[in-house]
């Protein structure tokens, strides 16, 4: 282990020099393909001992992907107390990124490796994923699956010791025959039920292969329920923030919500307490969709639910004010996951109640 690490440190220091020169060069250049370092990141870790910080108070360096997201900002705020954090973002071409983003780089491009060369990461928290409503299916697949495959190859190459990856409960798929309290062994039926979300299932499969093939990466995969709260911009959160929200006539599936701060706590716990595996993350509390809308101060817009083709068409007609039509079954059938294993393994109890969480949306109307 020491030999590759020496090589890594050398490469990182050489690269840091190159990177500084590059930064100077690009001040005048409007666009660049190399990693766009946005601000001065903490210096590379000096030794292997310093790099290995799992479960100890020793500082190590962590790569957090999707660093512009609200969840990542909470995670980074928690991690900064004990670790050096490098935030990387690959989504979109925004003009203004939050301070948590150190690099803007596509995982599929060669310059991404420079970030690994420059910093001796001991851990990766992979939160960056293009959501279902963002971009096309092919683009999502390329960024989420192919990009993550590269991330994992680089993690192996540069001796990363801990990886936490964010998946989603959507991988179970929504179906009338789903049992309640779905546990981690339940098949990921989304690939069969809704091919549009196949990238989420493939992403999980990829991590699962590495989980068993490369145990030295200590991969922990988290499958959270609906994440909501301040700053979150996913489908369900966006809808709760709307004054009028569509719902299907005669359907009010049971749902679970987790507050973004609780989810950030779950991510940090799973990073610090090293128990590799796949875990659902959800509170042991439930609310029907239409009740949630009313608690969030939304007015309901009833859409026809039968025949299914008419329901899909009416959802499509509402555009961004409704979920994408291929996710419509998540608003018809309950997908309740069992977060018990995660709660027991990581001693996790959510601090925010459902009333707190939905009250946030009501207060902002």
């Amino acid at each position: 282990m020491s030999q590759p690490n020496e090589r890594k440190r050398k490469t990182a220091s050489e690269n840091e020099q190159a990177s500084t020169e590059e930064d100077n060069d690009t001040k005048s250049a409007p666009r660049r393909k190399t990693p766009a370092r946005r601000q001065s990141a903490p210096a590379a870790t000096k030794s292997k001992k310093a790099a290995s910080g799992i479960g100890s108070s020793t500082r190590g360096k962590i790569l957090v992907t999707g660093a512009a997201g609200a969840l990542a900002q909470h995670v980074i705020a928690l991690l900064k107390e004990n670790y050096d954090v490098i935030g990387v973002e690959f989504r979109g071409l925004q003009t203004d990124y939050p301070d948590t983003v150190d690099y803007v780089v596509d995982f599929n491009q060669w310059p991404f490796e420079d970030v690994f060369r420059e910093h001796g990461f001991m851990g990766i928290i992979h939160l960056g994923r293009i959501r279902f409503t963002q971009s096309t299916r092919n683009r999502r697949y390329s960024a989420n699956v192919v990009g993550t495959a590269r991330l994992l190859r680089l993690a192996l190459k540069y001796g990363v010791e801990k990886v936490v990856a964010m998946s989603t409960f959507h991988v179970y798929g929504a179906d009338a025959r789903n049992p309640s309290l779905i546990d981690e062994e339940y098949p990921m039926r989304a690939a069969n039920l809704m091919p549009e979300v196949v990238d989420a299932v493939e992403l999980e499969n990829l991590f699962n292969i590495h989980l068993y093939k490369n145990p030295e990466l200590n991969i922990t995969i988290l499958r959270p329920c609906n994440i909501a709260g301040p700053g979150i911009n996913n489908e369900i959160s966006r809808m709760l923030a709307q004054p009028v929200v569509p719902c299907l006539f005669g359907f009010s599936p049971l749902m679970q919500f987790i507050h973004v701060e609780d989810m950030a706590d779950a991510v940090v716990r799973s990073f610090e307490r090293n128990h590799p595996g796949v875990y659902n993350v959800a509170p042991d509390d439930y609310v029907a969709y239409q009740d949630a809308l009313q608690l969030a101060g939304c007015r309901r817009l009833f859409l026809p639910s039968v025949p299914p083709a008419l329901a899909r068409r009416s959802v499509r007609a509402l555009g961004r004010y409704a979920p994408p039509d291929y996710l419509i079954d998540f608003f018809k059938y309950a997908v309740i996951i069992d977060g018990g294993l995660f709660a027991r393994t990581f001693d996790f109890t959510p601090q925010h109640s459902l009333a707190d969480l939905l009250g946030h949306y009501r207060a902002h109307k």
Binding site: A176, L254, D291
Partner: protein, 272 residues
């Protein structure tokens, strides 16, 4: 939520309110739902109607309720009949309406119910859950009691000429009982066959509507008297060597249910 808030004070009497409040509800969350969708307020509204049906329409007579323990995991296994799951509703209400050690057993419903607007949500909110072994296993782990009809649609959808003839039992309930060390209380249901006698199953219509069967039967249940006879708890160790062993144990439960059906038929003086 608003519909419940509107209906509850207008329909629910104090006795039903107290009855549901007294039931153990240890899996209910802060918003009044358990993981399977049970909602006590909806249950109260529904029980107001069910109680009238139980006492005045079907005039249910239940014997052997002392065999149902007040707590702990339990499978209540019975014969299925009557096209609609009225037998499950009556068995559940009988146990919830006990003078001592009352509890609300969960009824297994067919897998297509959740796909029907309103009906799926409503059945979940009064205690119905789809008949999935994983669901059953999780509920037993959480010390719930479950009403199971192992005949499934073979029993409920059978024509009147096959009344009180037990159809093939699935083995799933026995595997669950053995794996989770849950006692089985057999129940013989008499009278539900006559609530909705079916002459024939119109299969093409059922296929077209995506239903498991479409009976040629009365449009509303007939007011037949219903007799429920609960037997003594049966315990099965988790030591079956093969499926043949399981089959023998299933036959033991079927024999117990047959005896309880015979008892119910003997008790009945008239159908209506």
């Amino acid at each position: 939520m608003r519909t419940r808030q509107f209906l509850k004070p207008r329909t629910v009497g104090r006795d039903v309110d107290q009855l549901v409040d007294a039931l153990p509800k240890h899996n209910i969350g802060t918003q009044g739902y358990d993981p399977w969708g049970l909602n006590p307020d909806t249950a109260k509204i529904t029980f107001t109607a069910v109680r009238w049906l139980y006492q005045n329409y079907f005039r249910v007579q239940a014997q052997g309720l002392e065999h149902i323990p007040g707590e702990g995991r339990l499978l209540i296994v019975g014969n299925h009949s009557g096209q609609l799951p009225m037998d499950g509703v009556m068995v559940s209400f009988a146990v919830a309406n006990k003078s001592e050690n009352a509890r609300l057993p969960r009824s297994m419903i067919e897998r297509w119910f959740p796909s029907v607007p309103f009906l799926g949500n409503w059945m979940n909110s009064v205690g119905g859950v789809i008949g999935d072994p994983k669901n059953c296993g999780k509920m037993l782990e959480r010390e719930e009691s479950i009403v199971v009809f192992p005949e499934g649609i073979r029993g409920s959808g059978k024509p009147y000429r096959l009344r009180y003839q037990l159809q093939r039992f699935g083995h799933g309930f026995m595997h669950l009982a053995m794996e989770h060390n849950a006692p089985i209380v057999p129940v013989g249901v008499v009278g539900c066959e006559e609530t909705m006698p079916s002459l024939v199953n119109i299969k093409p219509l059922a296929r077209m509507l995506g239903m498991p069967y479409f009976p040629l039967a009365p449009l509303v249940p007939l007011p037949a008297r219903v007799f429920l006879n609960f037997g003594k708890p049966m315990h099965f160790a988790n030591d079956a060597r093969n499926e043949r062993d399981v089959e023998w144990r299933v036959e033991e439960v079927k024999d117990a249910i047959r005896d309880l059906i015979d008892t119910g038929i003997a008790q009945r003086k008239s159908i209506f």
